[in-house]
Amino acid sequence: MKLYDYILSPSCYKVRLMAALAGVKLDIRPVDFHPGLEHRGPELMALNPAGSIPILEDGDLVLTESSAILVYLAAKAAPDWLGGDAAEEAARVQQWLSFSGRLTASLGGARLHEMLLRPGDIGALQAQGIAALRELEAGLFEQSLRGQRFLVADRPTVADIACFPYVALAPDGGVSLDPYPTIRRWSRALRALDAFIEMPGIHRLHELKPEPHIESGEA
């Protein structure tokens, strides 16, 4: 499977992360998104008229929407990540996959503006990003009341991977994650998964230090 990839793109990172978690080996084709704008050049526009990356090629199949790519990788190699068949769970997966598009448009737009000088109304992008984060915080908190640590179930699904990167990188676009304790716990749970990989701006979890030794009688 060939991934047209940009190391700093959160959408491309979704695909790399899902592939790592599912144990799928990708053939990476780096795209000079910045400063070269290669994704808008003739070769890639022929492959994806939308002019966006990631693009995944597998034989005759060409996928250009990151959620579709996540579903494809999971269906091929790690079906547990698709979520259950029950009506409510299947619908929740779709709900958050669609919701992730709002994170891309708002927090992703703010990040591109603040970091790579792309045009945009930064105030509006940040305000829409904050509205989406509040909705996500509420959704995750309701899940925690049901005893579930992730967006759809008590195990991670493609919905979590679709939402995680733009949320984790919100500070790059000037949006703080300080007000969202449930989001931060969820982010920690995802980063603690076996086979998790990082990207620039998303640091790996530090090894937990040993418990401090408390002398008896000190307290």
Binding site: Y6, D32, H34, P35, E114, P200, H203
Partner: protein, 280 residues
């Protein structure tokens, strides 16, 4: 008053390869400027209708708001045959331009921020190195810097002990000379050119002159962007926002000698745009 010394310096304001007739609006030390190509293709930088002094060098357009007393610093390696010149592209950082340079001069953070690339635990020791302010050239130099690196460059396969020399030839620019894995005896050149937009906001333009015939240009760009974006979130969270030039809350260690010399040089020259002068 104190801003004057930096006003006469040269600053990067854009990539030569992306110049166009329409012009690009940006800023330099709080002043709005516009960077465009003239009808004859040469670079033209204006501020409120005033034409600024301009140089075109090292892949970038350089300008000054004042009257530069010195020519733009020399990088002889930029004219050496066989090197590949890499325009890494701009990254904006909400930090003092001086902090961006200071971070570039630091080695001790490699294992923790650039884990498994420029450093790794337990190889965290910074061995002794030499630092001097060279009065003749008016530059800060750190030499004999050695560090164990798992993947020192795109062209490196496996860990090596890398040797570094750091040079600060201008208040917001640093040039790094580094062991060149495919060509022992030569140095790879990696620079950090910083455009001060405001005292706490800057555009960073990394540029490289490397010996590497194997990697694609995109791979070279992505390697350096990966490194710099690992630094960016840390730079944006440093407190205080401005670079302190007087000792206050911070206690430098031996590993920070380059930073100490850089701050001392800035203070001595009156390079204080982006600096905090009185300890708080």
């Amino acid at each position: 008053m104190t801003q004057d010394a930096m006003i006469d310096e040269w600053y990067p304001v854009g990539l030569v390869s992306r110049l166009d007739g329409n012009g690009r609006k940006t800023a330099l030390m709080g002043e709005p400027i516009e960077v465009a190509s003239d009808t004859d293709g040469s670079a033209r930088v204006t501020s409120k209708g005033r034409v600024l002094p301009v140089r075109v060098r090292y892949g970038h357009v350089w300008a000054s708001l004042g009257q530069p007393q010195k020519e733009l610093f020399a990088i002889p390696e930029a004219d050496q045959p066989g090197r590949r010149f890499v325009d890494v592209g701009v990254v904006r950082v909400r930090c003092s331009p001086l902090r961006a340079v200071e971070n570039f001069l630091d080695i001790a953070h490699f294992p923790f921020v650039h884990t498994d690339i420029l450093g790794s635990e337990p190889h965290t020791e910074v061995q002794n190195y030499k630092v001097e302010i060279r009065e003749d050239a008016d530059e800060v130099w750190a030499t004999q810097v050695k560090f164990y690196q798992p993947q020192a460059a795109r062209s490196a396969s496996g860990g090596i002990t890398t040797e570094y020399m750091y040079r600060v030839p201008a208040p917001t620019c640093s040039v790094l000379y580094k062991t060149c894995p495919p060509r022992p005896g030569e140095w790879d050149v990696i620079t950090l050119f910083v455009q001060p937009l405001a005292e706490d906001l800057c555009d960073v333009w990394p540029w490289m002159a490397l010996f590497d015939d194997e990697s694609s240009m995109t791979d070279l760009i992505h390697f350096q962007q990966t490194i710099f974006l690992q630094d960016r979130s840390i730079l944006e969270n440093q407190i205080p926002r401005l670079l302190p030039l007087d000792p206050g809350m911070e206690i430098p260690t031996r590993a920070d000698l380059t930073s100490v010399a850089y701050r001392r040089w800035l203070k001595r020259r009156g390079y204080t745009y982006g600096a905090q002068l009185v300890a708080q």
